[in-house]
């Protein structure tokens, strides 16, 4: 396995002591892993994600992603890094309202000046099951559709790392399930995914690793087995002894 992300002794201090700070966090993530970062709000889990994404810089410590030391990059370098290596999915989609679904998906590709972006964008929308809404504006899409457009946008430049911060937080149960199933499918196809959530059910659904963050520290790093178990090994309904 190849190491894709390495955080070494990372500390993030916010002035005024706002929550979300990190204290001496070290973490290594392999390529192809589906890792869930779990913790209550204010625990620092989103900060962790933002540092890995190059959206924010640590107060001290090193963040290395795909061999690149993010601390060595200037602002323009960080922007290029994000564009080329990171796909980001947010809780509230963050689509531009005056662009169609397809146009939203194409933004990162246009920033990169890639050829054939249009046909790749349409293919991606098709893969995510929303080809039929490619020319609609976000206001005319359901929450689940908007999030799938956001996922397509995150994937258009074939990112090394897909980061998702509470991606189902603004969705109803059914749409949330669909988004999680989509992430699962992407992972099966080899995508490295880092999912931040406060929801244990989501964290354990597909991730083979659950990292727990509390008060700015990693307090647990659990590897989960994914082999299918017989029902009776997992859950049993117990009755009284046969009635007298």
């Amino acid at each position: 396995m190849t190491e894709l992300v390495r955080l070494t002794d990372v500390t993030k201090v916010y002035q005024g002591g706002i929550t979300g700070a990190l204290s001496s966090v070290s973490l290594s993530i392999e390529q192809g892993e589906f890792t869930a970062v779990m913790g209550p709000s204010g625990s620092g889990k989103s900060t962790l994600l933002n540092l890995i994404a190059g959206l924010d810089r640590p107060t001290s410590g090193d963040v290395v992603v795909g061999g690149t030391d993010l601390g060595a990059l200037d602002e323009a370098g960080l922007a290029r890094f994000r564009r080329d290596h990171v796909g980001f999915v947010f809780q509230f989609f963050h689509l531009l309202p005056n662009l169609t679904a397809l146009e939203n998906v194409l933004i990162p590709a246009q920033l990169k000046g890639r050829e054939n972006a249009d046909s790749r964008g349409r293919k991606l929308l098709e893969r995510l099951g929303i080809a039929d809404v490619a020319d609609r504006y976000p206001a005319r899409l359901s929450g689940g559709q908007q999030q799938r457009v956001a996922i397509a946008r995150a994937l258009i430049n074939n990112p090394t790392l897909l980061l998702a911060d509470e991606p189902t937080g603004a969705l109803d149960t059914h749409s949330g399930e669909q988004v999680m199933e989509l992430l699962a499918q992407l992972h099966r196809d080899g995508q490295t995914i880092l999912l931040v959530t406060h929801d244990a059910k989501l964290a354990t659904r597909q991730a083979s690793r659950v990292v727990s963050v509390r008060d700015g520290k990693i307090v647990d790093d659990a590897r989960l087995e994914s082999k299918e178990r017989a029902t009776s090994e997992v859950v049993r309904v117990r009755g009284e002894e046969a009635s007298r």
């Binding site: 647990d220 659990a222 994914s226 178990r229 009755g239 009635s243």
Partner: protein, 174 residues
């Protein structure tokens, strides 16, 4: 839930032999409750003694006896179905007692215990997630609902050990 009412419930659909009761019961519970045939026969005999079921006709080939629900049996079943579970909550798992003892026994290792328990709950959540999906795929929405109940319980257990761990952490002088 008791086997008695499980048997009554299945016989409410149609008369069955002991083996059919066992198979249908286990299939209804989707592998979450296995019973041996002896328990089924004992239960049927008691239900017959109490007048809640009765044999239909004589023993058939290989001595098999068909049972049906009697009118008092149907009434008992309907009553049971209408009753909420209002008895004491059952906490079967050892963790509850371990937790109490871990603080009494010197070097009981409460934080380590909580850490290991958390991992066990995370693994169980993952397994339950898979079972729920499998149940839905198999068209067993009734079973998926049962597993969903187990899932939510495990989520609560997880929240509980997290709280305890935060307490243990907060109380520790560093």
């Amino acid at each position: 839930m008791s086997l008695k009412y499980g048997v009554l419930g299945l016989l409410a659909e149609e008369p069955l032999h002991g083996y059919e009761v066992k198979n249908r019961f286990e299939s209804m519970l989707g592998g979450t409750w296995e019973v041996n045939i002896g328990q089924i026969y004992t239960t049927l005999q008691r239900l017959e003694r109490d007048g809640l079921v009765r044999p239909v006709g004589a023993r058939g080939d290989r001595g098999k006896l068909l049972y049906e629900l009697s009118p008092p049996g149907r009434k008992a079943l309907i009553n049971w179905l209408a009753q909420p579970d209002s008895g004491p909550q059952q906490l079967h798992e050892d963790i509850y007692v371990k937790l109490l003892l871990a603080t009494r026994v010197a070097n009981g290792g409460l934080p380590a215990l909580l850490g290991r328990q958390k991992r066990a709950y995370l693994q169980r959540l993952r397994d339950l997630n898979q079972l729920e999906e499998r149940a839905r795929r198999d068209g067993r929405n009734d079973l998926a609902r049962l597993i969903r109940g187990a899932l939510l319980h495990t989520e609560a257990d997880l929240k509980w050990v997290d709280e305890l761990a935060a307490d243990a952490h907060g109380g520790k002088t560093e």
